[in-house]
């Protein structure tokens, strides 16, 4: 069987930089930070009081009754998925002409409906057992964002929720690729979401020394590869793709952003929270993505790195990039978490989106706050907007998760058409 070509025909996002793809991408090109101080009273007692908070509240976009039946993680997913769906030119409900039996969903979250879980536990303790919402279980389930999107779109070819911490949504893009190439679906709505800006996880990440404590300079806190980095900054939001076969997209005359060429997945089998310091398993994820994509290291001009701004992770990834792609200097690397913070289960999809848009527009967004790079990284990091060459371009997005999950996704600008 011929390997199917998969193209991206719709994008949707709601992020700390903006309530849609256009504002998020413009924020990245402007080098703007979406990280700010948390003003809510609950933050005052915490060691970390900064986060990449969503620029647009989801209940400002959703219908009131719809919003109250969804955990915040599902709210973000529904908002971004509906944007992506309409961006792809598909109608809603009776105007939806996609064959439901050939439409799938793969939407990840790293943690799930945590705000519902903890909020309702507070209610049960404080107000009694009769005050707990009957919707708690369907709201907090990890698969709720995917299921809510699947129900709204009528997706009957399978609705899935890969969970691999911060690699989750790249894993959902990889799963979507498999669904299409194994002929289980023609169209898959895929991506990820996260909404855990809440006192418990905020504190728990601080307790494990994983997050930046630069409370007095929120916009300077996420600083991948900088010598003064001191951990990641939590972010929230969602990013969703509409993927379909090239054949299906062409038959309906769809605008095409570019190609999702393939994915590579490995596991460290090493430690729950520290990467394998040799970078070998991260590098192998990139190498596998290239093989699946029928690309070579020389084809890659751009990497959007996982680059969370943690002391060990950023250095290991630089080593892995050199190992997988060689020492050639034609690869421009960037770390957009410097601007968005770390969306955990939404991170892979958001940064995959940035990778694809960088190839499409031949423009790499900067890594901000990189004042003093770690010595001898041996990779070319964009600290301002950089241009990519003419012709066919390919790039990689990396996502790595607690548990040792490594997922690299490769994109190209091939088949690109139309305007954004």
């Amino acid at each position: 069987m011929m390997r199917k070509t998969i193209v991206v025909t719709g994008l949707g996002a709601t992020t700390p930089l903006g309530g849609d793809v256009a504002s998020t991408w413009a924020g990245m090109l402007a080098g703007r930070s979406g990280v700010s101080a948390i003003e809510a009273d609950w933050a005052a007692a915490l060691p970390v009081r900064i986060a990449g908070q969503a620029a647009v509240e989801p209940d400002a976009v959703l219908q009131r009754v719809e919003a109250r039946r969804l955990d915040r993680s599902a709210q973000f997913a529904v908002v971004a998925a509906m944007q992506a769906w309409q961006d792809a030119g598909f109608g809603l409900r009776e105007e939806n002409v996609v064959d439901r039996a050939r439409l799938g969903v793969a939407i990840a979250t790293g943690i799930g409906g945590l705000q519902t879980l903890l909020g309702q536990w507070d209610i049960q303790k404080e107000k009694g057992v009769r005050r707990v919402s009957p919707l708690v279980i369907p709201m907090l389930m990890t698969n709720a964002p995917a299921a809510n999107v699947g129900i709204r779109l009528g997706a009957e070819a399978g609705v899935h929720t890969p969970v691999s911490a911060c690699a989750s949504s790249n894993e959902s893009l990889a799963l979507a690729t498999d669904m299409i190439r194994l002929d289980r679906a023609d169209v898959v709505v895929a991506g990820g979401t996260e909404a855990v800006i809440h006192p418990l996880p905020m504190n728990a990440f601080a307790q494990m020394q994983a997050v930046s404590r630069r409370n007095d300079e929120p916009e300077r806190a996420s600083r991948p590869w900088d010598v003064d980095r001191d951990g990641f900054v939590l972010g929230e939001g969602a990013a969703i793709f509409v993927l379909e076969t090239l054949e299906h997209a062409k038959a309906r005359g769809a605008r095409i952003y570019g190609e999702l060429a393939g994915a590579g997945m490995t596991a460290d089998a090493h430690d729950m929270v520290q990467p394998n310091p040799t970078g070998v398993t991260q590098a192998r994820a990139m190498t596998r993505a290239l093989a699946e994509s029928e690309l070579t290291p020389a084809d890659i001009v751009h990497v959007n790195a996982h680059a969370t701004s943690t002391p060990q992770g950023d250095v290991t990834e630089a080593e892995a990039i050199r190992m997988a792609l060689g020492d050639h200097t034609a690869v421009i690397v960037t770390g957009t978490k410097s601007m968005t913070g770390h969306l955990l289960g939404g991170a892979g999809a958001l940064e995959s989106m940035a990778t694809l848009l960088a190839l499409r527009h031949r423009t790499v967004p900067p890594t901000i706050n990189l004042d003093n790079p770690e010595p001898q990284l041996g990779i070319d990091i964009a600290t301002k907007v950089r241009s990519l060459p003419d012709g066919d371009l390919a790039g990689i997005n990396n996502s790595f998760g607690f548990g040792g999950h490594n997922v690299a996704v490769a994109f190209t600008n091939r088949y690109g058409s139309g305007a954004d």
Binding site: Q63, R64, V65, R68, R130, R131, S133, P134, L135, P138
Partner: protein, 81 residues
């Protein structure tokens, strides 16, 4: 003591908040399920919210029998008296 109309109006607000049904449609002769399209989980939420609003207890076995808005208003009137 609240009048029947006051209870209906307060209940209508709850139904609107939970299920999005226009408050004016929540009249005594209307069936929650058949006329107002309130699903079973929303009905549970409405019962819990009504217990809190009217300071009454509506046991689950009683709640099953509250088919219409009028049934619910009458139950609340009896339970609150």
């Amino acid at each position: 003591m609240a009048t029947t109309e006051e209870i209906r109006a307060d209940l209508a607000e709850i139904v609107n908040e939970v299920a999005g049904v226009p408050a004016d449609d929540v009249q005594l002769d209307k069936s929650f399920a058949d006329d107002l399209d309130v699903d079973s989980l929303s009905m549970v939420e409405i019962i819990y919210a009504a217990e809190e609003k009217f300071s009454v207890s509506i046991p689950d076995e009683e709640a099953k029998n509250l088919k219409t808005v009028g049934d619910a208003v009458a139950y609340i009137e009896r339970a609150a008296s």
